[in-house]
């Protein structure tokens, strides 16, 4: 990249490269793509730091982790990570991730994507992956709208909230994502906001270590569209709103935690249980049915 005078401008992190002075997440990022495209005060970058620190804490081998995103501002996450990562098509992050997880059962596959990608166009994949207890961790960045395409109303837009396709306010019932995940069969369900970044990070490290379908919703500011259309101020104003309106209640019944427009947000870890995964069930079941004829697929014969 160069400026009008032909001087070369570095678009890398301008951090001295000595061992001591390195951003602790630097090795996890594709620094050559920075600065990232997300707007000033957008919360997606904060969720990404939550993922990286959660992965660091989990102690998982980076070679055995893959990240898949769909399309949207949130869907850009995969492309900034220095891990095996894939930016799939809109709504199809979960099926792509399912393929990876089944093709190579040693991998921990993580989906990081937006509310529209996961709960609208990808909603069917979401409920079926949860139903099957597929070994995936799904992190949904919920900014209450389709941000990338101009702030349209989506499946999590609260009633009353203004969106470009709801100029007088939204009159649809939104999804309550933790309830959807739990009732579809997820073994780990949590909701946080990007303000609660340490909890996001701990929750992600916990979810990464659990075999089966784990789901973490992170509410994050979209100052450019959702907040602007609703005159809610900057991302910092929304962080202050989360501070005032988020209530931590790990024992909350997920049926009761819908999110109303600028109303209280119940956060916490709502579900944490163990249950055999899709592959475990398949193997045990077929072993029982086929006896000696059963050959277990481990992914190794794939290379």
């Amino acid at each position: 990249m160069s400026n009008s005078k032909g001087q070369i401008l570095s678009n890398k992190l301008e951090i001295p490269k000595s061992d001591e002075l390195k951003h602790p997440m630097e090795g996890y990022l594709r620094e050559e793509r920075f600065p990232h495209i997300w707007c000033s005060t957008c919360g997606i970058g904060t969720v990404l730091t939550g993922f990286i620190t959660g992965l660091q804490k989990s102690g998982l081998d980076r070679e055995k982790v893959a990240v898949v995103s769909g399309i949207g501002c949130s869907g850009r996450a995969a492309g900034y990570l220095r891990l095996d990562s894939f930016h799939s098509t809109h709504g199809r992050a979960i099926p792509f991730a399912t393929g990876l997880a089944l093709g190579n059962p040693e991998l921990k596959v993580v989906v990081i994507s937006g509310d529209g990608d996961i709960a609208a166009i990808g909603g069917n994949h979401f409920i079926h992956a949860a139903r099957r207890n597929m070994n995936l961790t799904v992190i949904c960045i919920n900014n209450f709208n389709y941000a990338m395409t101009g702030g349209q109303a989506g499946p999590t837009t609260p009633e009353e909230a203004n969106a470009s396709t709801a100029p007088f306010g939204c009159y649809e019932y939104p999804f309550n994502l933790p309830f959807l995940a739990e009732s579809s069969g997820a073994i780990y369900v949590a909701r946080w906001t990007s303000l609660h970044i340490r909890r996001v990070s701990n929750s992600i490290s916990e979810a990464l270590l659990k075999p089966g379908f784990s789901f973490i919703e992170v509410i994050a500011p979209c100052p450019t569209l959702y907040a602007r259309r609703n005159r809610l101020g900057s991302g910092l104003d929304l962080m202050k709103f989360y501070h005032d309106s988020a209530i931590i209640d790990h024992n909350a019944d997920t049926r009761d935690i819908d999110i109303g427009y600028q109303d209280r947000i119940t956060i916490g870890k709502f579900v944490d249980k163990d249950k055999p995964t899709f592959l475990e069930n398949k193997d045990n079941f077929l072993k029982k049915k086929l006896g000696d004829k059963f050959i277990q697929y481990t992914g190794q014969n794939w290379e």
Binding site: L21, P24, T41
Partner: protein, 101 residues
């Protein structure tokens, strides 16, 4: 730390200490780090960076306790903290206390 009363064992106590590093050109001026630093170590610059954003500057390097919150909450990966030698809080803290009054 601004003490209400100076603890008797203050000469023996050591608190963790961090050194803050800021990549001012990558910062997008969201102010999250300034707002949520528990020790008010940072403030926003009066100057603009190349993209026209104000960026954080260190107001009181000695007061940073290496909690890493600024690093984790920053959406732009433009601030980080390295562990420094633990410090005896006495010297600068008591001065801070006077400053705060």
């Amino acid at each position: 730390m601004a003490y209400w009363r100076v603890p008797l064992d203050i000469k023996k106590v050591e608190v963790p200490h961090g050194n803050v590093h800021i990549d001012k050109e990558q910062c997008k001026g969201c102010k999250f780090c300034v707002e949520y630093c528990p020790r008010d170590v940072l403030e926003m610059s009066a100057e603009f960076n190349r993209k026209g954003y104000h960026y954080p500057v260190v107001l009181k390097q000695g007061a940073c306790v290496n909690c890493n919150l600024c690093e984790m909450i920053c959406p732009d990966f433009s601030i980080f903290v390295m562990e420094g030698k633990p410090r005896n809080p006495e010297a600068d803290e008591i001065i801070d206390r006077k400053d705060n009054q």
